[in-house]
Symmetry: C2
Subunit: 605 residues, 2 copies
């Protein structure tokens, strides 16, 4: 069955939400999106502003046309830099779509534009601009996004957290962003061929970000489902999306996705390269891989996972592992190396990969091909041997003005998590860390969003910049859209818990607003402020469905008589009256008299 | 509608599972249950033994009759001690069931047995026996349960964890249990009127335990649903169950639950006391409360949550909180204290409560009535003021030979969790800590099993002995049986992740067995070893449902071409051959030659 040429996606704002746009200062044309959640008038509180990765799909004022793609908001910025040129580019070939027969070919995206590339000798990466002292529109966009109206809150800012040496500013300036990017501590994945992108920063001193994986496999899924999943994932909060397709139609599916993606899109190019050689790893060549890089860079892929750390010498360190090599790309490269008795072509040609990345601004995501896939293999020699190589490659990439982030584990029990963060910071020069979980136990397939959510929250707290989600289907099958949502919400929880624990100045505002709503029985506000208003409301309504119940000072957990929050209200005035008798504060007696407790008297006498 | 007099419950073993019984040595009549999960013969591995809280319901050789209740396996042990006497006891009164009209009255449990109590002056608590140097059948039962066949593994035992000062032995002896109980570092909640109980230990140096909350509310649920939930909760791994009913028929519902519960049952007696005074907190009296304690102790409740830490002087510390007092019992006591301008009757009569607990062996769960219900309130003065009082009460209870555990928070961001553990250990003399989560952010109602699973895993790692589960319905409504299961599985994950991180010698065996099964594509073994085999299998089968697929060396995540585990097998022999050329180990050259990497060469050259 052929793919429908027009996928349907979910549109419309989240409840009580309005997309607002903040203008730039250095670049006045900027329109930086964020989401305002309005509260009930009785709250007497302004709307709560939250980070918004969902793109135009949730804009109440926008018409979506998947066949046309999203507005090319960066086009003018790129043109203004004058350092790129359009060219004919590489046209799609049957190999790019896995040689599918015509009746199974996903239709091509309707429009084809000539790709851009750097003019001869120019580096068009955000890190090159940053090092040259230039604040790009992308950098200012990111600064405004990260602030979420924080300037207005400046005098009220309190810090409460443990940041393990991170340096999160009270207020993010464009200059701060430039500096973080220049020193490699943050990346802004932004391919010059992805003008539809709403830029985002990934770095330890910014809000913790999350990635959602989508993509078909040989067994299941289609372009329509994958475009729908991408829009669904960002609706719920995914900051980037990786298209990990390994089946047919990889090129055409990816085009539909990128043209409609307001978030950075990542890929693992070795997958498509493997498809081009009919699935025979040994038949991979540097030339085929290079061609695939160009193909994907021209389409606008914002970051590439490159498993250049899987060196021939490391592979024997995996032979006694319980779960071997669990990375697809890592296992493919290991197979190639062993068969040919040669060093990885990714490692050997790394500087040529840099030259490509530099010409399109594709960010490196240096792959953790030797990550542990079981508790038994955590923090072993293979894993850290690769990390050392990734550190070496980071510095080479930086020499070529390429942006870099570092991928990380995996399956790691809680007591071994911190070591990963400490080692990565030291070895990779504070390049952003991007982990898959980690899963803190192996024993719960079906619930690996939870086993890994625990590790992700912890490693995010310790300094990891982006958390790659895991869905309930991990280890069992390809995730569907329900799994995508569950994975995203779980990882938004992990990322936010990390921001809170790091003492990010803006994080706690949302928790406090929701808790006030909860305490005041503003049920709709509680739902609307939550990460998933639909589910919160539906769960409440399972037992108390009537609209009148939304005014109730109880729910079905405790009923009207036992609701502790209702009782708390009852006693609050009385308790306050007792506190207010401050004049009598020095007189304290046990028993029936009014009295004023002090901190000391509250302790054990 | 009247309750059905015979609830239906889920029976039958989990997949590939057999309930086995280990005999005692000191007490040869003991039959200590555990679960053996059989693996496919191709694995060449023995069955994996896991802790089993599910009681006779999963025994392939047992007929269940809910109207008869479970076998009274402790009856002979209690009789042999000769320190208890049967007596007429207090007969059920209309107030006990909330004055329900006859047509809404839950039928009484068919049999009524005369309750036991201590003979004059005797202390019948496990801690009294322990201090007297006596190893009870309960203590030996617990020791055998905790070992799970560990003796056989003794020589292979490796320790890999961070236990923060805990002292988990390689092999648990009955004497070790006695010592832990004697010093108050562990409890064995075991009311003399709960002879159906399969004893369990709760303490920092034992496996981390979890509790599931059930119970009706005024809005919803029934005896049949609650008995079914109890059996369902323990099937999935709940080590204790609390009946937190706050609606009608509290007494009768509880009787059906306890008579059919192989796990300790906890309650919060103030709830029923409040029902007896028509829901008017100010009308509570010590006499009514005392009568309720006796009523529940005679039924066999194994532990009471007592909010004696909510002292009059602490209450003003809550007035400026964002979410006030979120504990039902805490808010009820606070209301009473403020209204009467008097010290808590629980605090004032605490020694009389001890006398009751001592006569039946009801374990104290000293309630955290002033726990924080929002991130904003975490670790505040109110919370720690109460903790100080709980420390004082712990020592009083110990003086009376009563067993004690301490309840804990709540809502706590990650960076504030450890402080809770450190303070509790110091203030409460290492009495077992029993926390509710904690939730690490407020912003995800509908997913609070996850927000709290993160905190629970961490605080379990730091030394918390039991984790009280949270379900997806937290803050929104009463959990149904699906929510109960989700909460239990989530908390089994948290508890096991904690055991792993503490370096518990037996924990990793299950992860390793499952990961081997995964790596070898023994799909059924992977499912059967997991915490929820039904869900794991169902998720897999959503995309690959045929029986032949259970032999497949891939799943729909990656398909046959991209499965990293399959590829890992392909390369393993080749990689091993290269390693095996050990004679050439000293000779290393880049490029095409065979070589032997050493640790040094694996690092960056």
């Amino acid at each position: 069955m052929t793919d429908l040429s027009t996928p349907t996606v979910t549109t419309g704002p989240l409840p009580a939400s309005t997309k607002v746009f903040k203008p730039g200062v250095l670049h006045p044309d900027l329109r930086v999106p964020m989401r305002e959640i309005a509260l009930h008038p009785s709250a007497g509180e302004p709307p709560v502003t939250v980070y918004d990765s969902s793109g135009p799909y949730t804009d109440q004022n926008t018409q979506i046309s998947i066949e046309q793609g999203l507005p090319r908001l960066r086009e003018a910025w790129l043109a203004a830099r004058g350092d790129t040129e359009a060219y004919e580019g590489r046209h799609v070939q049957p190999a790019d779509n896995g040689f599918v027969p015509a009746d199974r070919l996903t239709p091509a995206f309707p429009a084809r534009r000539r790709p851009l590339r750097a003019k001869q000798g120019r580096a068009v990466t955000q890190i090159a601009y940053a090092r040259a002292g230039i604040i790009t529109p992308e950098m200012e966009f990111v600064a405004i996004r990260e602030n979420l109206g924080r300037a207005a809150m400046r005098e009220k800012m309190a810090r409460d957290g443990e940041n393990f040496g991170a340096a999160i500013p009270d207020f993010v300036t464009p200059e701060f962003v430039r500096d973080e990017v220049a020193r490699g501590r943050a990346v802004i994945p932004a391919n010059i061929n992805h003008p539809e992108l709403e830029p985002t920063a990934i770095g330890r001193n910014f809000l913790v970000k999350i990635n959602a994986n989508i993509g078909n496999s040989a067994v299941t899924s289609s372009m329509a489902e994958e475009v729908d999943k991408m829009v669904w994932a960002i609706r719920w909060g995914a900051d980037t999306v990786m298209d990990l397709s390994t089946g047919r139609n990889i090129h055409n599916i990816r085009e539909w996705i990128i043209r409609n993606a307001p978030v950075p899109i990542g890929t693992v190019p070795i997958y498509q390269a493997l498809e081009k050689v009919g699935g025979i790893a040994e038949d991979l060549t540097w030339e085929i891989f290079r061609d695939t890089l160009i193909e994907q860079a021209e389409q606008g892929v914002d970051y590439f996972t490159i498993h250049a750390g899987v060196r021939l010498r490391h592979i024997p360190l995996t032979v006694d592992r319980v779960t071997g090599i669990v990375s697809r790309g890592g296992s493919i490269m290991a197979k190639w190396c062993l068969h040919h008795h040669r060093e990885s072509f990714l490692y050997e040609h790394f500087e040529e990969i840099c030259a490509i990345a530099r010409a399109y601004d594709v960010t490196f995501s240096l792959g953790d091909g030797l990550r542990p896939g079981s508790i038994a293999d955590a923090n072993d020699a293979a894993q850290f041997a690769e990390l050392e190589t990734l550190g070496e490659l980071t510095r080479i990439a930086w020499q070529h003005d390429c942006q870099v982030m570092i991928e990380g584990p995996g399956h790691v029990p809680m007591h071994k998590i911190k070591e990963n963060m400490d080692k990565q910071l030291a070895i990779c020069g504070e390049a952003p860390f991007y982990t898959l979980g980690p899963l803190t136990t192996d024993i719960a397939p079906g619930y690996d969003h939870i086993t890994s959510g625990i590790g992700a929250a912890m490693i995010g707290w310790f300094g990891t910049a982006m958390l790659c989600y895991v869905t309930p289907k991990e280890h069992l099958g390809l995730p569907d859209r329900d799994d995508v949502k569950t994975g995203v919400i779980t990882y938004k929880i992990a990322a936010h818990a990390a921001d809170l624990a790091k003492g990010h100045p803006a994080a706690k505002l949302r928790d406090d607003a929701l808790s006030r709503a909860r305490f005041e029985f503003r049920w709709e506000d509680q739902f609307n402020l939550s990460l998933d208003p639909d589910t919160a409301r539906a769960f409440h309504d399972q037992t108390l469905p009537k609209e009148a119940h939304k005014l109730a000072h109880f729910c079905s957990m405790c009923g009207p008589r036992f609701c502790s929050m209702r009782i708390s209200h009852d006693i609050r005035d009385e308790a306050r009256a007792q506190v207010g008798m401050n004049a009598m504060a020095e007189r304290y007696r046990d028993g029936g008299d009014l009295y004023m407790p002090t901190q000391e008297s509250a302790k054990v006498p």
